[in-house]
Amino acid sequence: MTDTLYVTGASVPDATPKPPRRRNRLTRKVPGGGLLIGAVVPVLLLGLWWLATDVTGTFSQVQLPAPQAVFSAGLGLFESGELFEHMAISLQRVLLGFAIGAVLGLALGALLGLSSIADGLLHPTVGAFRAVPSLAWVPLLLLWVGIDEDSKVILIAIGAFFPVFTAIHSALRHVDAQLVEAGRAFGFHGVRLLGTVQLPAVVPSVFSGLRLALAQAWLFLVAAELLASSEGLGFLLTESQNNGRTDRLLLAIVLLALLGKLTDTLLGLLERKALKTWA
């Protein structure tokens, strides 16, 4: 019992305190609830699509095929094994290009974000290159690298490079100055300071940059597969568009969106883990 001298209205109940309430609205109510809720809008859109094509017939088959048509186009390609090949090669290109671009973006972004000399020297050039459209790289790469796998991966790497570069570059300039000073005061500088204070502090920004870069890598894939390819979702997209196969075109779009979303989700998991460690 408490040892108060002048207790005023203090009643001390015996009951042990209840465990703390957990407040995870929404997602914790149902197992997998988060997934379900995220599916609401896509399902609605699918329904709309179906209504607009198969039911009301607002659009003709070639303008906008019904969802089933897209599905059966996919089934056809799946059965011939082509679908898997398209997806596999595209995935490989995107992942490779993304990895290369992200690593370079991190390195150059860190360098320019930390060294004002390097920044003054290189930032204008990087900024100008950032403004070269993906489609404009195609003829240049064709000329300089040729039409093999390299040029495709390079193009995707270019796409992935800039978001990562911009994110880390700008985030590094806004790391809490007090923490950086503390790090320096304890004898950290250069790479050690970067690894100890600055990089961890910008982890959220870097991941936002990485996710944009991954999305951009998928965007650049289509341009990359204009570079003399005969496989890949980007190729499927361009070819179907050229041949007027709107069902396959939509299939390619849907698959690109799905694969993009899938890789993004995986990156998101990594992000969550990193944020647990760093933020």
Binding site: V62, I89, I147, D148, S229, S230, E239, N243, G244, R248
Partner: protein, 326 residues
């Protein structure tokens, strides 16, 4: 990309295939070229061309030795300075026409005055449209041209965004199947499907160029005898319905021509030339004339001799198509 060495033995022949060049598909499908080049110890690498512009680009960058284009595109490429030569004619297609919607009240090319037309600049359909207009006493300035990629042009027509479309097969065949109508067709306004090679290749590897032409000759003979088989292959490579492929092959493709680049194709190209200058794509008519004079290398087609390669069942799966590493 380039292998500029002059007396060097060619290790790999880079050659394109395209859905607008059905013979290339037949050769690829059967593995004839690999077979014929085996004894010379030359490998074959296949690269797909999505359109004449892509083939031209790859020819300019010397990423491919041999590439197929429309005749007008071959001329344009040389006129802007590319060192390429037309070595043979693949077929005389009727791949371009002016397309309108079923319910359109346009009845003749003359009615197009003031109309909006979708076309892809610097392609055969574009020149087809320009020549058709000219023939009807109009010029491209009398219509409103919407620069669109081929497939998008069809879409724009279907939406009613444009009154007519300078169409290209096989998209055009698909549109027809969906009810679109051909307003005007004229096989002579199409500028042939031709096969080109880089100057370097023609000069330093004439033996291989000859073999390419010979294999094409074998394919031409096969295609003439097997239109159904050709349509089947086209349908597979282009990812289109077999009926549409059949229509394209039987109705709008003519393999029964003289492969030697000669007067007919010269005339067709000559007619397209002025439009390059008019559009500003080429700076002067002199450039066009000069290009036309030096474009043809007819000797290979003249000396052609159909090969008798046997081919293999799964040649296409074995073939070195650009990215499949085997």
């Amino acid at each position: 990309g380039s292998d500029g060495g002059e007396d060097e033995q060619l290790e790999t022949l880079n050659i394109d295939f395209a859905t607008y060049n059905p013979l290339s598909l037949i050769i690829l499908e059967n593995g004839w070229l690999e077979e014929e080049l085996e004894e010379l110890d030359v490998d074959v690498k296949w690269v797909q061309s999505q359109g004449s512009n892509v083939a031209n680009e790859n020819l300019r960058a010397e990423n491919i030795h041999v590439g197929s284009t429309a005749g007008s595109a071959a001329l344009l490429n040389r006129a802007v300075g590319a060192d390429t030569h037309t070595i043979m004619i693949e077929n005389q297609p009727e791949w371009s026409a002016l397309v309108i919607n079923e319910d359109s009240d346009i009845e003749s090319v003359e009615d197009l005055e003031g109309a909006s037309i979708a076309a892809t600049p610097a392609t055969d359909p574009y020149f087809f449209m320009a020549r058709s207009l000219q023939e009807a006493g109009l010029s491209v300035d009398d219509v409103e041209i919407q620069a669109l990629q081929h497939a998008d042009g069809r879409q724009a027509l279907a939406n009613g965004d444009v009154d007519a479309w300078a169409g290209l097969d096989p998209i055009m065949a698909g549109a027809e199947a969906d009810g679109a109508e051909l307003l005007y067709r004229n096989v002579d306004f199409n500028t042939y499907s031709v096969v080109n090679a880089t100057g370097d290749f023609v000069e330093n590897h004439p033996d291989i160029a000859q073999i390419v032409v010979n294999v094409y000759e074998q394919a031409r003979e096969w295609a003439t005898e097997n239109p159904e088989g050709t349509a089947e292959i086209l349908a597979e490579y282009a990812g289109i319905e077999p009926e549409i492929a059949e229509a394209v092959i039987t109705e709008r493709t003519n393999f029964d021509i003289d492969p030697v680049p000669g007067d007919d194709v010269y005339a067709a190209m000559e007619a397209a030339g002025p439009f390059f200058v008019e559009n500003g794509d080429v700076d002067s008519q002199d450039d066009v004339d000069e290009a036309l004079e030096s474009l043809f290398h007819p000797e290979f087609a003249e000396n052609r001799e159909a090969t008798d390669a046997e081919g293999t069942e799964d040649a296409a799966d074995e073939a070195d198509i650009e990215e499949t590493e085997e």
